[in-house]
């Protein structure tokens, strides 16, 4: 019996910045419809891995396959069009546009660029992310947690098959964090959206993920269910140091 094609397969992925090896021989896959978390200490190469997948950086080695299609080394825009929506850890709102217009920009690629349809799509997504009442405000007036939600809204508007979330929980209060978890789980359940996320907030990782991949010094050191990786000796070692026990 053939296993179904994973939504994302990363193989032997590597990136060198001059002499520095930021990502080395990373391989994992994200099954269709799953939520997978990428965790690791600061500087582990998580965001670099994201940038390699999303095309913000060209990989030095390895392949990235989305839904059976090799997208390695395509540019950011082409990879988005292929079905990868991403958020930025350092948020990038279109500051001079309204919140609604920010999301419309992502939606305009669909429906032949019909502006009113994009506006309706934008409103629906903003309502989902509980930003509906800020729709007409300039994006620059949003607080950081709201900007994080706006990042998710913009990425969702492109109608991705795979959503890459880079620390969208950071800075959220526990209640807000739980809301975001609920929203993402809802999206995943209702639309079958596949999600790969980088997260430091363990509360969110535990609640959300089916599967966790742990990076350290640019390499994968463990993967498994949330419960498995949190008791994995190598993971404990890299987070807590060698003398933890």
């Amino acid at each position: 019996m053939n296993a179904p094609t994973p939504m994302l397969t990363v193989d032997n992925l590597g990136k060198s910045f001059r002499g520095l090896r930021a990502v080395n021989q990373v391989a994992f896959s994200v099954p269709r419809g799953d939520i997978v978390a990428l965790i690791g200490p600061n500087g582990a190469g998580k965001t670099t891995t994201f940038n390699l997948i999303a095309g913000a950086l060209p990989p030095s080695d390895g392949t990235v396959v989305l839904d059976g299609e090799d997208i390695t080394g395509l540019g950011q825009a082409a990879i988005c069009r292929a079905g990868v929506g991403r958020t930025f850890q350092i948020v990038k709102p279109f500051a001079g546009l309204t919140v609604e217009e920010n999301v419309m920009v992502g939606a305009l690629r669909h429906d032949n660029g019909d502006v009113e349809k994009a506006r309706a799509a934008s409103r629906a997504i903003l309502d989902l992310l509980e930003l509906g009442d800020r729709a007409k405000d300039p994006a620059q007036t949003l607080t950081l947690p709201d900007r994080k939600r706006l990042e998710v809204a913009k990425a969702l508007a492109t109608r991705p098959k795979l959503l890459l979330l880079d620390e969208v929980m950071a800075g959220l209060r526990p209640v807000e964090c739980d809301r975001m978890v609920a929203i993402l789980t809802g999206l995943n359940k209702e639309t079958g959206l596949t999600i790969l996320l980088i997260e430091h907030v363990m509360r969110a990782v535990m609640a959300l993920s089916d599967h966790v991949v742990v990076l350290h010094h640019g390499e994968k050191i463990a993967e498994g269910t949330p419960a498995e990786v949190t008791s994995h000796p190598k993971v404990l070692e890299c987070y807590l140091g060698e003398d933890h026990g």
């Binding site: 999303a54 913000a56 540019g75 950011q76 825009a77 082409a78 988005c80 069009r81 991403r86 930025f88 990038k92 709102p93 279109f94 500051a95 001079g96 546009l97 309204t98 217009e101 419309m104 920009v105 992502g106 305009l108 690629r109 660029g113 502006v115 009113e116 994009a118 300039p138 913009k154 990425a155 508007a157 492109t158």
Partner: protein, 329 residues
């Protein structure tokens, strides 16, 4: 942005258009020629605004396109009697082609911001030098368009005629440019441009073809600007490379829009009115005081004051004051 203008805005605009359309009944030739200057500046400002205000690509050499349009229309008319509207097509095509070269060089090789602006200046400057030595267009001694015989009727097709005729032509062009700018801004491309202007990397990540959309902005802006150049050639009847391609013109061209409000629809018009009124007023004042250079100094101080007090331009501020907020533009 609402699909239709809010009522008050539409009423105000139509009222303004009506007043301008009736102006020749009351105004003499002198006042009309000042109004022509205002409208031409507004038109050119809007053309520049498409590239800088909407798409965020800084051109400091837009005199290049004014000159190319002016010389294409003027020289074809002088040598072959080609009607200006046909010459304009040639001028716009040449301008768009040169814009494509500048855009390709700039955008493919990631020349951004100030460095891109330097590239646009370089093209304007070496085109000026080229025209200074090109005999067919009169080189540095200039190109002169034959004026219409006295008392001949206005000829709209050949753009030979009275000040009133020129006034209506530039009024029509400015109204059309306003409508066109608004239509661009309300379409997908308008949103894409603004996204690129605000954050090119984020726009790219949303699947927008950044290069293509920036190129379209350059081509449209260049073509619009060169049509203004054709008008200028036929209104002035004389063309000198050193004045038409000058850095001074490039700066003057964008000044109205900067004062009025970059990226806004009405800013270029407001800016042109304010700058011309200010210039005329200070000239009067300077004549009374009788000290050389007072006008220029006062003019400079006024511009600085406006930019310090209202860095986003006068229109966003005035719009708030008049409660014309509708869509933030």
């Amino acid at each position: 942005m609402s699909a239709l203008f809010q009522d008050r805005r539409a009423v105000l605009l139509l009222g303004l258009l009506a007043i301008l359309a009736l102006a020749p009944l009351a105004a003499g030739d002198y006042l009309l020629s000042i109004l022509i200057t205002v409208l031409l500046q507004a038109y050119l400002g809007m053309s520049w605004n498409v590239m800088m205000g909407f798409a965020g690509q800084f051109s400091l050499g837009h005199a290049l396109y004014v000159g190319l349009g002016a010389y294409a229309g003027g020289a074809l008319f002088v040598h072959y009697g080609t009607p200006p509207w046909i010459g304009a097509i040639a001028g716009m095509a040449v301008s768009a082609a040169v814009g494509a070269v500048i855009g390709t060089l700039g955008f493919r090789f990631k020349v951004m911001g100030v460095y891109f602006a330097l590239l646009t200046i370089a093209f304007a400057e070496f085109t000026r030098v080229l025209f200074d030595h090109w005999g067919w267009v009169g080189a540095s001694s200039g190109l002169f368009l034959p004026p219409a015989p006295n008392n001949s009727p206005d000829n709209l097709w050949l753009l030979r005629g009275s000040t009133t005729m020129f006034y209506y032509v530039i009024l029509g062009m400015t109204a059309a440019a306003f409508w066109f700018s608004r239509a661009l801004l309300m379409r997908r491309i308008g949103y894409y441009w603004q996204a690129i202007r605000e954050d090119q990397d984020a726009a790219d990540a949303l699947g927008i073809d950044v290069f293509r959309n920036k190129m379209i902005a350059v081509l449209i802006s260049a073509a619009m600007t060169s049509l203004g150049g054709v008008f200028l050639a036929f209104f002035n009847n004389n063309l000198y490379p050193e004045s038409i391609f000058s850095m001074h013109r490039s700066i003057e061209l964008m000044l109205g829009t900067i004062i009025g409000g970059i990226g806004t629809l009405f800013g270029p018009i407001l800016g042109a009115v304010v700058l011309t009124a200010l210039g005329e007023l200070l000239t009067e004042l300077g004549a009374h005081i009788g000290i050389d250079g007072v006008k220029q100094i006062a003019y400079g101080i006024c511009l600085m004051l406006i930019l310090v007090l209202k860095p986003g331009g006068l229109w966003p501020w005035l719009r708030k004051l008049l409660r014309l907020e509708g869509d933030g533009r």
